[in-house]
């Protein structure tokens, strides 16, 4: 099935694309799959980053003198969680 799809795509590209044909097998008529992929990928890290910063604020409210030690972990946790959302952005460019 994948092979047939790719062959079909190659033949069209070689022949010069007829009008109305989307020149990229990863785009349906209505929706660009790369953009949809990013939208879905951003859900998890959105919740995760909210949790991280929320816990940070909560723990400083409980014990203000821990702020110095916790700030380091805050940024490390933020970057590790954000990485997954950004892999979603990069997927859009993979699929182009």
């Amino acid at each position: 099935m994948q092979l047939a799809m790719h062959l079909h795509h190659l033949l069209y590209v070689a022949a010069g694309s007829p009008p109305g044909y989307v020149n990229n097998v990863y785009q349906l008529h209505i929706v660009n799959l790369g953009a949809l992929a990013y939208g879905l990928a951003a859900i998890g890290p959105g919740v995760g980053i909210g949790i991280i910063f929320g816990k940070f604020m909560e723990s400083i409210a409980r014990q203000p003198e821990a702020q110095g030690r916790l700030t380091g972990f805050l940024w490390i946790g933020f970057a590790l969680t954000e990485a997954l959302a950004l892999i979603g952005i990069a997927v859009y460019y993979f699929l182009k």
Binding site: A79, I87, I89
Partner: protein, 273 residues
Amino acid sequence: MNHVLALGAAQHCGSNSHVLSGCGYPSPSIQDFYFRPLFSIGDFHFDKPMLLVLLTTMIVVGFFWAAFRKPQLVPRGIQNIGELGILFVRDQILRPQLGKKGDNWLPFLCGLFFFIWVNNIFGIIPILYFPATSRFAYPAVLTAMVWILYMGIGIWKQGPIGYLKSLAVPAGAPWWILPLLAPIDFLSNVFIRPFTLSIRLWANMLAGHVLLLVFALATWYLLTWSYELVFSAASFVVLVALTGLELLIQLLQAFIFTILTAFYISGAYEPAH
């Protein structure tokens, strides 16, 4: 037909705007990350990201050479700033992960941190305006270096079987879950770590550059000599705010790459307790 209507509308509005001239918004695409070569020697094309990386190397090496050429016990002048940089890497990155006896790694980690940071900063410096780390080759090579380092040191210090055990068995796991956990943990440590390390840096810089491009192009595209200039001005304000955000993200990504490198190297020396 649409073209004629659009031109008619532009003349009727009496403005010179791009929006109505029929040409669409030039949205940033993957083509913005490909550059025509500055010069070519045979098949080797020298383009703008290569020039930027060379410039980064010269800046980093030149700065630290100038700062520590004649080191004094009481620092004067540029040695102050050089010491600020090195002490930041030593106290925030190296000491928490590798401890005092890991001080031998300071030159490597310092060079890594400043190389990535200066490369990232070139994304917001005028005329340059391109973070070379947004081309995947550069984070990939840095990650390959780090991977070879932590695998090599692990195999050297703990022996192949000992390092395999350290990679596959997380500390404190009960024995009955190991058949499920060990392959996952092994894959995670050996393959997922370099993957996420390189992609984290690369995708952050790619996304940041694209965001800045979107709003810069929108500022240009919406320029029109009527009251609608407020749209272009709003886009410009967002561009300035995003540049500030990019400053933070660039420093943060360089810091994260370096601190994770230190963490992986420390995990290679001794198994995680």
